[in-house]
Symmetry: C2
Subunit: 235 residues, 2 copies
DNA sequence: GTCGATCGACTGGTCCGACCACTTGACCAG
DNA sequence: CTGGTCAAGTGGTCGGACCAGTCGATCGAC
């Protein structure tokens, strides 16, 4: 048998998850007041502090809005929540399938990634270009191990995004990576075509290093687009 | 004189802000252990609960990682943090200028927005298309009031992003909008050219409604790119 | 001396019960 | 109708206690 880490979640974490799911699933509709903290504490059978921590985290991701004296109200996550809750949308959201979510992430990755490659070719400094080149060469040395390729792929792309000198892209990239791990492990078999295209990645690195912005943009789009079409079939 | 809301921030909010700034500014380096909660409470002169709430929020945005028994350690926000902290990077981050951050946001908006327009033209259902059309017509009726245009612009784009049926884009859009409000009010004078191009927005809406994906993509890119170049000059 | 178990100090996690600060709405006087 | 008062309810803070893990120093067996 395989040994996996024992499930060990803090009380406040469980409360957070429960409320989050209730909100994302629509059970608690936008505008609804959350039950009072004291009541939630009683209902969950935990201390009020635990509830407060959970609510604080919910507020941090803008799933609720608290106001002293007044009620804590459920926000409309479609209008307020940020990319960081995407992963947690998988099971809980209305009828949102994992496949759809994955497709969405891949699409965004393609849009952001190719523009980052363009900017990287345009304004990365020398060290950054060298890093991209080195990581691309590492990538080429790996072989056919899909998991290793996926890991190295993340590092290569991180270097490209860093080279783009665009913080927004960098932070989005972090979210996408984090969620890719959180959701279904981004079916690597669906990324086979992309990951195994070693020459394509080398070419991308060369274009970036040469400062060929349009070329890098196109090549990045070609690479990243592959996994999307691989995933299509319903849509 | 103008009356603005009195500044009123909760204790835990202040602690959160202080620690966040210390991390984003590099004062607390990645890997560093955070002082113990009890000590932070003493140093800030607040109760430990307040500290705990602040730390919980920091963990939620992945600026720190807590582990029972062990120390709470500072994460490398460049590798872990999500888009939601972007706004708060403005003053605190290393040497990150507001102008750069704004440019980054605009660039991302352009990349995401134009692809969203493409997808919206491709797979929005009828009601969604009708909404886009209606909002574009509203937009055209506003006139030269830049603030009103900016507000209507957000709604129009929200409809387009919704029509794209891509949740990742939707959530990113939320973050971008939220932060645009948080940072410098996105110098509207730098968006003048974009905002005042009413025919351009109407054309975009028509292309979306007609299902012309490439056309919508190009038109969106043209509109959104304008504010970036308007902001350039150093770069 | 090396290895391993033990133990204690320290850190985060939870709980209790109390009080403060604020909002809301009912009520009442003008 | 207006404005003020008041009580109830809600979030915010406090302190002090104890539980539950981690980590390193210590000490015994080999």
């Amino acid at each position: 048998m395989t040994y996996r880490p024992v499930r060990r979640e803090s009380v406040s974490g469980q409360v957070f998850a429960a409320l989050r799911d209730a909100i994302l699933s629509g059970e608690l509709a936008p505008g609804d007041p959350l039950p009072a903290e004291r009541e939630l504490a009683a209902r969950f059978g935990v201390n009020r502090q635990a509830v407060r921590e959970a609510v604080g985290r919910l507020a941090q991701v803008r799933l609720v809005r608290v106001s002293q004296g007044g009620n804590t109200r459920v926000e409309d996550w479609r209008r307020t929540a940020g990319l960081d809750i995407a992963a947690q949308l998988a099971g809980s959201a209305d009828r949102l399938a994992v496949a759809t979510l994955t497709r969405d992430m891949l699409e965004m990755r393609a849009a952001v990634g190719s523009d980052a490659a363009r900017l990287c070719a345009e304004r990365a400094d020398e060290p950054a270009r060298a890093t991209v080149r080195a990581l691309a060469e590492d990538y080429a040395r790996i072989g056919a191990d899909l998991d290793a390729l996926a890991a190295a792929n993340v590092e290569l792309w991180r270097a490209i995004v860093l080279g783009s000198r665009n913080v927004a892209y960098l932070l989005s990239f972090n979210s996408l990576v984090a969620h890719a791990l959180a959701i279904a492990p981004v079916p690597p078999q669906q990324r086979t075509a992309e990951l195994l295209d070693v020459p394509g990645h080398l070419r991308l690195a060369r274009l970036v290093e040469a400062g060929d912005a349009p070329g890098a943009y196109d090549q990045a789009g070609a690479l990243l687009g592959r996994s999307i079409t691989a995933l299509d079939g319903r849509s």
